[in-house]
């Protein structure tokens, strides 16, 4: 833990040094600031910043897009996870800006998430859609089972706080998984067998939680990190696996 804190502090000071070079009289910090302000247009927020210079209330939609890549600690039926990803756009958002540097957000996103799991285990899916792991019946080589889980649509309802460049959102999601297919490939000597099983979509939990943080750099471009609970998975029998998503943001507000 101490090493991590020290490393982060070193990063902090390094960025501070880069961002605050020594000033001479003719190129003072104030002079540079004036250079920027003189180019700005009244009524539009400064480039590269979240729109702090805004009214008390704002309503917007379809103005935020995120693409992220997720990593999952392996659930008990898979030994790898990925590539998986998500795409999110803001469906509607209401912003309250009580202070220049603080806003409170409430809204709906639409998020599509794609999971890909790889496993060297064998699955058996029963009629109820429950997945179980079965012992290898002795095939001559390892089998790989690919179980794409696609199109996990969710509608996260979020409540967020935004301090200057940093934002946090807490929300609830309803997930629907329209198509789930498990394809198992068996290799037995010279023969290869492929079996595909379709599993009916099954909402596991209608409530999930995630913590989300983002930093915006220039022109509304930023990065985000989201930590999510693992109950998204459609497989009731699987143990939940929390996962991280890291991605980029395009914020046009």
């Amino acid at each position: 833990m101490k090493k991590i804190i020290l490393a982060a502090a070193a990063v902090l000071f390094a960025f501070e040094a880069i961002a605050a070079p020594a000033q001479s009289d003719s190129t003072s910090r104030a002079s540079k600031r004036l250079d920027e302000i003189e180019k700005m247009e009244i009524g539009k927020p400064a480039k590269g910043h979240s729109s702090r210079d805004v009214d008390l209330f704002e309503l917007g939609a379809f103005s935020r897009y995120q693409w992220g890549w997720s990593h999952l600690g392996a659930p008990d039926f898979a030994d790898s996870f990925g590539p998986s990803g998500e795409f999110l756009f803001n469906f509607v958002e209401l912003r309250l800006n009580p202070l220049d540097w603080l806003s409170v957000n409430l809204g709906f996103d639409l998020r599509w998430e794609n999971f890909r799991l790889r496993s060297s285990k064998l699955y058996d899916v029963d009629a109820f859609g429950d997945v179980t792991i079965v012992p290898n019946p002795g095939y001559t080589s390892a089998v790989s089972t690919v179980a794409p889980v696609d199109c996990a649509l969710s509608f996260p309802l979020f409540l967020g706080l935004h301090w200057d460049l940093i934002g946090f959102r807490l929300g609830a999601e309803m997930t629907c998984n329209p198509n789930n297919e498990i394809t198992s490939t068996y290799i037995d000597g010279p023969s290869t067998y492929k079996v595909t099983t379709t599993v009916e979509a099954k909402p596991v939990n209608i409530f999930t939680y995630s913590f989300f943080g983002s930093v915006l750099f220039g022109d509304g471009l930023g990065i985000y990190a989201r930590y999510s609970s693992g109950e998204h998975f459609p497989y009731a029998c699987t143990s939940a696996a929390d996962y991280w998503t890291l991605g980029i943001i395009m914020d046009f507000r």
């Binding site: 982060a8 990063v11 902090l12 605050a20 009289d25 104030a30 009524g43 702090r52």
Partner: protein, 552 residues
Amino acid sequence: MKKYILTLALLAFAFAGAWGAEEGFLKGKILKIDKDVIITERGGNSLTLTLNGLNRESSIALIDVLRALDKAASDDAIAMVYLNYDHFSASQTSMEEIRERLLKLSALGKPVIAYGASLGNGSYYIASAADRVFLNPKGGGALTGLASTQFFLKDLLDTLGVGVQLIRHGKFKSAGEMYIRNDISPENRLQYEELLGSVWNAMVADIAASRGTTPEAINAITDKLETGTAQAWLEAGLVDGLKYRDEMEDYLCHLFGTDDPKSIQTVSLKDYASKLKKGPASKKIAIIYAEGEIARSGSDLVGEKLAAQIEKVRKDESVKAVVFRVNSPGGEVVAADIIRREIELLGKEKPVVASYGSYAASGGYLISAGCEHIFTDATTLTGSIGVFGMIPNLGKAIRKNLKITPVNIGTNDHSSMGSGMEPLSAEEEAWYQAEIEGIYDDFVGVVAAGRNMTAEQVDSIAQGRVWAGNDAIEIGLCDEKGGLMDAIRYAAAKAGLLNYRIVAIPEKEKTSLRSLTKGNKDDKDDPLVSLREMLETPGFNAYYLMPYIILN
């Protein structure tokens, strides 16, 4: 998992810290320095009765200005400083100290904008510290460099029949030369040239640094008279734009991201300074002001009067340290020594730090040479370690012009010495010379003791020579370049004070009426006024006095 969250949070804050500084339009108030801001050492209000009526003059003390600008640097409510240099009046050294504060504000990200219609050496010196300098399109002025004009009255006095005997020590002690010569001596021409050069070079260096150019370029512009009209100033790169008043208003509105000028809040320097908090009454730093010509009576700086104030400060236990703010060209020997003695006694009990204003020369230097640390501005005039005495004789003048014949009757051979009616005899002149030599040796001794130098070392840099602040540091007459606030901080550190109240001694004069006959301080620069005063006070008087004032 927890450590990953913490790491990401720290990284996020790192980014925010590096890029999350003040951005966007300005927010806060404008600190305005305009509307006839007259900055003097001690500030105050005065009423002067003139032929045109009652003239009220209000000025701000330099210490209040410096403290206000220091506060503004860290006050989030202040977004920027607006300086109208047409309405700004301060001495050269005050401008130097204020300029430094403006540069500090700028370095911290608070813009300083200067605007006006008339620019010259002094006004441009202060305006050039701003991040943006604007000029009225029909305004202008010229950078000409510094000059000093001397008046020599020998022929006039000969015509009137007035005789003057000048007895002095110090080939550079030129204070009395105006009465005995018709031209400048070679020693003093050299002194003036080097002094003016030193002060001007300091100003040009500051201007060049602020404008991103070189001192050579500034001097070339000055020598070629490339200033003049507003357009010429713009083409010379000395101003950033030409704007009428309404255009300046639009510009300021833009800085604040608004179309409505009424939405921008302003606060005047005077109002802002008046709201500065005072520290605890039990821990004070006293600024003792020695301002003006030192005299035994009838002056702003009467030796006995100031000495009594200094004694009071010495006995005041709530005063933990003292800054001796000197802005004096010197004056009468005995009066100066009375002050010196009290400062010496004060220094034995409390830290006493000297801070020099425009002048701390001759007697002004004598009274402060014993302070434990001396701060000077680059453009301060100091030194002038020398002494002179002048004995006028009016016998011939009143015989010639008024047909009055004075007759002296005395009991002894030299009873009429110094009566002012006859010149001194050779023996009497020699006696006065010996007196002057003794006074000079005393002066050298005081400086040697105060500056930890030998008498010979002091003599080599004395001889009445005047030095600019930067040069004075090099030769050991002063310790450090710095202004009034630097001296206060030094004194506070010596006394171990973190929180303290600053008090001014003597206290500010309340509004007072001055009579028509007394005139005001500016008259003392007039050589004919000096002549009149000399003639009104016959007899021998020795002076530690600096002779001239640089014109901007």
